[in-house]
Each structure stands twice: as C-alpha cells, then as structure tokens.
Amino acid sequence: MGPSVNDFGHDPWWIILIKVVLVFAICVVLTLFNIWWERRVVARMQHRIGPNMHGPFGLLQSLADGVKLALKEDITPTKADKAVFVLAPVLSCVPAFVTFSVIPFGPTVTMFGHRTPLQLTDMPVAVLFVMAIASIGIYGIVLGGWASGSTYSLLGGLRSSAQMISYEVSMGLALVAVFLYAGSLSTSEIVAAQDKWWFAALLLPSFVIYCISMVGETNRAPFDLPEAEGELVGGFHTEYSSLKFALFFLAEYINLATVSALATTLFLGGWHAPFWIDHAWAGANAGYWPLIWFFGKLLFFVWIFIWLRGSLPRLRYDQFMHLGWKLLLPCSLGWIVVVAVVRMAAIKGDFDPRWWMFAIGLVVTAAVVFGTLRRPERPADIRPTTGGFPTPTLPNGGAVRGAARPLTFGPADGVPALPATSEEAS
C-alpha cells in the first residue's frame, strides 16, 4: 500500500517546494524540541526538573539559547585558516539537512488535491545516499578542527574522524542485512517490505549493531570522545563561537534525528502503526495518521540516546576502537553470511524463513551483547620496565630533576662528606 520508487518525481513544483520547506522546518523544530527534551529527561534521571521557565514546560528554552548564541560575539582566531574556518560549519550542517530528504514520513496522501507520498524524494540507492552524504558531514568536523589552528581542536577533529569512519563501517554492514532481506535500497520500499514483520525482529543482530554504531556515529555519550569536555575542552569546536558554533550544534542534533529516523525506517517499520494497532483500526496506516507513529518511534530512539547519556560513563579510546573493530565488525560480517544463506535456502527450499531468522538472530544478539559487556582481560603485567607497553625509559637521575628534586639533607658544601652519605652518593 505504500509508495514505491516509481511514485516519485511526478509532483508539481509547488508541492515540492512545500515539502522542502516542511522538511527544513521539521529538522529545525525537531532540533529545538530534542534539545529541550534531552535536558528535561536527563534532568529527571538526575532527580532534577530541567529548564522550565521559558514558555510552557520550558519549551522555548532552546529557542532562547539559540537567540543568545546568535547575538554573541563571533571570534575568529588569528591562527585560523579563515576560509575553511567559515566553511566547515556549513559543510557539516548542509548534509545533515539533505539526508532528511529521503526519509519517508508516511504513505501517499492527498496534499492540496494532489496524490503525493509524504517523502521529499526517493531513489533506488536512497540509504546509500544517506551514508554518502553523512560522510561529507565528517569533513565539516575534521576541517573545522584543522582550520581552528588549535591543538585541542585538531585532536578533537582527528578523534572524531577516526571514530566516525570506524563506526560507519559497522553501521553500513548492519544495513547490508536489511538490503539483502528487503531486496532494495530505496527507503520507501524498505518500509513497504516491513508491512508484516519489522526488521528489528527479523534482523535483531543488525538492529543491535546499528543502534550501537549510530551512537558512535553521532558522537553522543558514551561515545562522545571527540567532544569530551573534560579532556578536550569541547574538541573540534573549541574555537568556534556564536552562529558558527550554533551550526555545529544544529548539525549534531539533526544527525541525531537522522540516525533515529533511519533506524525507524529500516528496523521499526517506518511509519507503520506499532503493536498491531492497524488490526484494530483499519485507518491507522492511511492519510496523515502515520506521522504520529513515525515521530513516536523517532522520539523513542532519541529517548534511548538520552537514556544512554544519563547512564553510561565515557569510553576510553582503545575500548571504543576495540568494540567497533574487533566485535561489531566481525559480528556484522558473520551475520550477513547467515542472512544470505537463510534467505537463499528459503527461496530454493520454499519455506518461511522468519522464525528461523528470529531464532538465529537471538543467539547472535546474545553473543554480541555478551561480548560488549564483557571487559577484556587486562594484560598480565603492564609495568613499563618488564616488556609491557612501550613507554620510554626514565631519564638519568630519575623522573624528578632540577629544582623539583626532593631535598636531601647531607653535609654542607665544602665540608667532607660523612661515610654514610658518600655511600649513598656513589
């Protein structure tokens, strides 16, 4: 019943304009809402109330913060590379908006007398398009860190690039299973393929791996190493202020919404009504109603993000890389093989693979979760002198030299040393 790729590209220009403006507005409003929601929820998790002064329930707090940011002094460091410094926030913000253009918000509806899908556009490689555009956003962060001419920014930018590239790999591989099963990369068709069973149930390991890597991809706690306030003073945006900083902030929160929307689309049935509501109420999946289910699911994911932030401490860099490269990546690869085999066997042997997928998926997920939670055993000996980690040897005279050397109360200068102290000196 949902639209397919062929249904796109027939709209008059003014319908497209309306959709573009709507998508833009949704991104901005969703950002303002998410900031408020995050602050409120994380406050409740910490026994506080959170912002409650501006507007009803403090809803206008993020708007006020945005206005304040815009009115602040815009500082460009003298050592900064001016052109790149200005370009970087734009480069990270624009792709964030663009990715939302292929997210399906609902089925085909009647908009001012025209039948049109509730989705700006779709293409046969829509999810690939999202991944590609999201990668451009990384350039914004890396270039921003580099162009600032500051060590903190550079470190933050480098860490960010390493992190996002690492997690994009496992993220992409988690999506491969979806492509295999849906037989399409078009978002609208992937949603249509989840008419009966959500991919979160059929492809549980992919869902779990995607959920973990989307947190890494958006630089959110517990994977917020690039911005780690205590360590890097804000990371790549240390030197940014005023509207340029606001653009980075905006991009970060749109990305948060994007990965949540993508998770909804690819794993939680997109705009389909949850919990078999459509069985009880036939109209649940028609007209504009699916917007409720879509945004409900999206905000559920945002809430998961907030919950993670409220519960977990930041990971160490090596733990983070260990998780991404040594656990999520091999598990994704193995799972893709399983999906391909079961899918092929189902087609050749003509049986229903769903319960099989669910059962195998449960086992693989248990393995992934177990591996994630288990701390790797520490190496037997980490003392630097006995062949542990390659640390440089201590300089002659010990670690503390010069004026900082601890005082020793021996004989005064010019007085012959006592036997005991001369033994120490030698």
Partner: protein
C-alpha cells in the same frame, strides 16, 4: 607490591553481564521519582534554624549596643573580613547636651564593618564575641552588584529597635553600672571547679 602481582579474581557471570547494565535501571526509575529541586526565587524554603547567614549586632533591652569594641571578632576572623574601631563612652553630655554613651561600660564599637566579599560565614566571630553582641541571622540573600555595597557598615548590621528600646546614645537605663546589664546575680557556682580555689 603492585596490583599485577596479586592473584587474579575470576569475575562471576553476574558481575560480567548484569552489573554493567544495572545502572540503566537506576536512571530509568529515577525518571519517575519526584525531583528534589526547590523553586528558589518563587518559593523560598526556610533554612535550618542555626544556618549561618548575615551577621547582626544585638542590643540590650534599653536599646544600648552590646558591642564593646574589643575587636576579638576581627582577630578571630580567618578571612580578615571584619574591621572594628573602638571608642570611649562618656557620661558627660556633649556641647549640644546629648549623651555620649552607646553601650554600657567603658568602650563601644565606633566603626564596625563586615566585608561580605571576604566573609566565609564560618561563625568564628560569633564564638569569639564575649558579650553575645555579634550573632548570625538566617538571611542568606547577600548578592549585590558592587564591591562597596557589600561592605556592611554598623548601621546595616545593628538589630532593629524593638518596643521599649531607645536609640542610643543615651544614659544607662537598667542600672548604675554595666554589671547590672550583664549579670544581675553572678552565678559563681557555674565556674567553680572542685579542688580549685575560687575568689
């Protein structure tokens, strides 16, 4: 002996699997508990009864000041926030016929300043005060926007005149000398220590 020398403890399955995720339950349930936040500027909660707030210079029942200008509070202050200048009382009226007595006894605090930019509200001055002239109130809203206004002068610190009190300077109303103000019937038994000779 370093950590690595000790025999390794094998972690149980609960420690490996459950403990890392137990924190999620804490944050989840806390969401539905009542927050502890106080709506401070709109809704002011009373402080603890012995809260260390702004200081107050107390008065005797007839309105004379209790402060004798001894400067013990200033000496006790670890933050050097108190400045006191004492002066002599006199029972001789001045040229205009006004009394020159501000407190019972010989001396009174002519200048009394507390610098609330320095004060840490520790209360050592209160302990040092021999006449209970200096005490602390529960008032805690001490913020201001200039340095000068945060140096409280004597008139800012003095307790208000209650009914029956008279604005000093005026002669002693409760007796002929200061002993009538402090200890009408000295309770020497409080200070007696067994085995020590008392005067």
């Amino acid at each position: 002996m370093s950590e690595s020398d000790q025999p390794k403890k094998k972690r149980s399955l609960k420690e490996q699997i459950w403990d890392p995720v137990a924190g999620f339950g804490v944050t989840f349930t806390t969401q539905f508990k009542k927050p502890v936040t106080e709506q401070y500027p709109m809704q002011k909660e009373p402080t603890a009864p012995r809260f260390h707030g702004r200081h107050q210079l107390n008065r005797h029942p007839d309105g004379l000041e209790k402060c004798v200008g001894c400067e013990l509070c200033a000496w006790a202050c670890p933050a050097d926030a108190i400045y006191v200048e004492g002066a002599d009382n006199s029972d001789e009226p001045d040229a205009e016929g006004n009394s020159q007595r501000f407190s019972p006894g010989e001396r009174y605090g002519r200048v009394y300043q507390i610098n609330y930019l320095r004060c840490i509200l520790c209360g050592l001055c209160i302990e040092a005060c021999p006449t209970r002239a200096l005490t602390m109130t529960n008032e805690y809203e001490l913020a201001d926007d200039s340095r000068a206004s945060l140096i409280y002068e004597k008139q800012d610190l003095l307790a208000p005149l209650l009914p029956g009190m008279e604005q000093p300077p005026h002669p002693m109303r409760l007796g002929d000398d200061e002993q009538d103000y402090y200890a009408p019937e000295p309770r020497t038994e409080l200070f007696e220590v067994p085995g020590r000779e008392t005067r």
